[in-house]
């Protein structure tokens, strides 16, 4: 492995400032890594000239002593983020040649802080999927057990795979029901979904507006803090963005968790959860206890409804959000004799099976005669789920759960959509409640696949979430590198 790839985001940032190497050298090393790991299929679009120009500009800033927080650090961007003059497809055929004339707020924040863009990362089509298999250009491969062709998880599968395989120093992701945390768990990296409203949604291809939230996928908790520092912020262009200052998360890394109360929800230990995960879940509880936290059993009684509620609300919003891909103004169009026929053929060919399934579910649950029984009821239950968390956060500071019921599975193995949806069973409740959650790797299962543990905090308590996650990370000492990583 190139020595340069050993640096994580934080240490690379320090090394760059100390001029141990240049951003150009670092970025070059990452392009070599991208080439070496190309079989994983993480990248949809590489923009080497653009990246090199960004790196050169960063080196200038470093030399001038005007470096910004992410100066010269090469990162990857999930293809859900619109990037100016760079193809943005949401991994869908319907947007296969779409090139935005604008930059999403979150990515603009990153470039404004000096980050260097390596390229666009694959994901499930319109972020709908848990295995990265719904991507129009084919699935991404998990760098762990590379010969077994394991799923990187989804939807931010390209981001997780790239960070794990050392072909990006860090990456952006989006999380609607677990799309950052689940692939982070599968690929043995850290994935943070902030509080709903923390990061602007402006310029991110919308899947489910009331749930979508951008966040980082990184190698460490510190790196997640560093990334989120830049990504987050109030944006008047997004009416749901929170007008709240976020404190510098780097100040919270080593605050410790002495006296903090950690809740263990009894509803999250159910049948179907892998024994290795249960083992590491218990280990994690002990590690936190050893670090000075108090462990309390808690109950989130409406958890069992979270998945059904999610699969009503998210498709309902998606069915409406995806109506704009109609072949009229941009994207793919199939010519036809009438307008209705043009819609049918364009959308029929342009969307993949999973996206079509969710559009149909969403259209159905919003239809007159079904609205009250499905959508309205789901909204009511969503409120109850939120109240469950509100009640629990009166007793405890953080909640600890497994990130996923199983570790990664072989690509092509899960054909049944319902089985696939169960992947998100531990991540969906916090999404519905708009709460911040982080998944971090704590160990490997018997077959050598990483296991992720999730911490959930109260709204806008990203600082505390970072402190707690860092404490767990220290105890877990996860420093395995996948066999599919760049060498």
């Amino acid at each position: 492995m190139s020595d340069l790839l050993k640096f994580d985001l934080l240490s690379a940032s320090i090394a760059l400032k100390n001029k141990e190497f240049s951003s150009l050298e670092l970025t070059n090393a990452y392009f070599e890594a991208i080439e070496k790991t190309s079989a994983l299929g993480a990248y949809l679009e590489i923009i080497k000239d653009h990246s090199m120009n960004m790196a050169k500009a960063s080196d200038k800033n470093i030399n001038n002593g005007t470096s910004r927080p992410l100066e010269g650090l090469p990162i990857g961007v999930k293809d859900m983020f619109c990037t100016k003059d760079i193809k943005t497809t949401a991994s869908s055929k319907i947007l296969e040649n779409f090139c935005p004339t604008y930059e999403s707020t979150v990515t603009q924040n990153l470039w404004d802080d000096g980050a260097v863009m390596l390229g666009k990362l694959s994901c499930d089509e319109f972020a709908m999927g848990s295995s990265n298999e719904t991507a129009a250009k084919g699935n991404v491969v998990n760098p762990w057990l590379k010969n077994s062709k394991m799923s990187p998880g989804g939807s931010s599968g390209g981001s997780a795979s790239a960070v794990a395989s050392r072909s990006a120093l860090a990456a952006t992701g989006t999380d609607t029901g677990g799309s950052i945390r689940q692939p982070a768990a599968f690929c043995g990296v850290t994935g943070l979904k902030p509080t709903y409203g923390r990061c602007s949604r402006w310029g991110i291809v919308a899947f489910s507006s009331s749930l979508d939230q951008a966040g980082p996928l990184t190698r460490t908790v510190s790196d997640a803090a560093l990334m989120l520092n830049s990504m987050a912020g109030y944006d008047k262009k997004d009416s749901t963005s929170a007008n709240l200052e976020m404190p510098d998360l780097m100040n919270y890394l080593d605050k410790g968790i002495k006296g903090k109360k950690i809740g263990i929800p009894k509803e999250y230990t159910q049948d179907g959860i892998s024994q290795d995960i249960v083992k590491f879940y218990e280990k994690s509880i002990n590690w936190l206890k050893e670090s000075g936290a108090e462990i309390l059993p808690v109950s989130l009684p409406h958890t069992k409804y979270a998945l059904p509620v999610y699969y009503i609300i998210a498709p309902a919003e998606a069915s409406s959000n995806l109506a704009r891909y109609d072949g009229v103004r941009y994207g793919k169009r199939n010519e036809a004799a009438s307008l209705d026929e043009m819609y049918e053929i364009t959308r029929g060919n342009g969307f993949g099976e999973e996206v079509k399934r969710r559009i149909m579910i969403g259209t159905y649950v919003l239809s007159s005669g079904y609205y009250d029984a499905y959508y309205l009821k789901a909204q009511k239950v969503r409120r109850l789920i939120k109240e469950d968390f509100d009640n629990v956060f009166e007793e405890v500071d953080y909640i600890l759960t497994p990130s996923t019921p199983t570790t990664s599975f072989e690509l092509g193995q899960k054909q049944d959509p319902l089985t696939m949806y169960l992947n998100d069973i531990f991540t969906v409740p916090a999404s519905l409640a708009g709460l911040p959650g982080i998944s971090l790797p704590v160990g490997l299962d018997k077959s050598g696949l990483p296991i992720g543990i999730q911490l959930i905090a109260n709204s806008f308590d990203e600082p505390g979430l970072i402190s707690t996650a860092r404490a767990l990370e220290r105890s877990a000492e996860f420093n395995f590198i996948p066999d599919g990583a760049a060498t």
Partner: protein, 490 residues
Amino acid sequence: MSETGILKPGHINGETGTWEMVIGLEIHAQISSKSKLFSGASASFGAEANSNVSLVDAAMPGMLPVINEFCIEQAVKTGLALNAKINNVSVFDRKNYFYADLPQGYQISQFTKPIVGEGEIIIDLDNGKQTTIGIERLHLEQDAGKSLHDQHPSKSFIDLNRTGVALMEIVSKPDIRSPQEAGAYVKKIRSILRYVGACDGNMEEGSLRADCNVSVRKSGEEFGTRCEIKNLNSIRFIIQAIQSEAERQVDILESGGKINQETRLFDTSTGETRSMRSKEDAHDYRYFPDPDLLPLEFSDSWVQEIKKTLPELPDSLKKRLVNDFEITPYDASILVEEKDYVDFYQKAAKGQDGKLTANWMITELFGALKKENLTLSNSPISPENLGKLVSLISKGTISGKIAKDVFAEMMTSKNSPSDIVKDKGLEQVSDDTEILKLIDKVISENKDKVNDYLGGKDKLFGFFVGQVMKLSQGKANPGIVNNLLKEKLK
């Protein structure tokens, strides 16, 4: 059957009896805002196709709506002017349907929780009576774009300039009972909108359009099945469309048929309505709250602040004009129809005879402006000069007849009436000796007629008056001429 044979408006005589119309209106009023409801693009009319289109309007991926606060204020102002309940919490919903000129695939509107709830307005009818029409609600929504089907033999073109322009939909209760009432209702709403400045009310440019719901019933019966006539853009068409639609429904019902609930279009060339789509073909709009927008919330105190900015509204102004200027309620109702009118009138009538000023403004000035194709805003006669003219008449400086000539001169020269009177020597002659000189001259030149008059031909008196006036070139004070002539011809 009407016993007199003359039917009241809104009633139709059929074979089986008299039918009554039941009408409800949905008025779409474009808010006078520089930018659109959820984007910064210009909302101006008449720009080159697709030149006023933002990324949000074109529904590019990842674009989000942000509410234009000015539009909220206008909706609240209008709600207050409609004596309506202001809802401190309202919600924007998505109305989902596919059409080429609807880029998002949904229109952002307000479905279950509109910004303004129930209210009422008073309308003036032609017979001088008034009636109250209930307002069901007012909500904010986006306009759609425009499909152009006549630009190419096989293709349709889309212009997105209108896409996202802010509209207020004002829904009446089914309280309207005749096409004339519907016309008066639209006029009143338009007048209120112009007073508060929320909409320019320009129907030709489409800033104000109405959908009319029409049904018929026998007096005292339940409401019948209604049809909706879409997108009428003049008061004349509204009146025609309702009348023709009601007649169509009566014909169907009387021949034993049933009314299908449907949406209809008014064909201005035939003066009839035709079916657009039936209820069965109606879209399922799959309304749900727009997750990109938070519920719209504001405080009572904010509403009170808005209330303070409201101008005096037509109903209250009308009362005040009758009181302060002693004019008839009928004249007052004409003067308050438009804010310009009442502003002009109040300037002109200041310190003058209010009734005389109203007469001159309504009859002479409005008549002359109409003839010249002008409006009050570009009237050659300023309110001050109209007031001066009225003053010259009241003081007896000029006669009413001379005043008409002065008025005509004012229309062309824009000079002040006193200057015109001075320049042309038009002051009224009220001096007895001057007038007696003229009378003597007329008597001496018409001895035979004087004899006839004294012999009993009383009608000749008018002739003598006319002759004296003619001799004075119209300047003699007619009252004095009358009195002195009577004395002389005793």
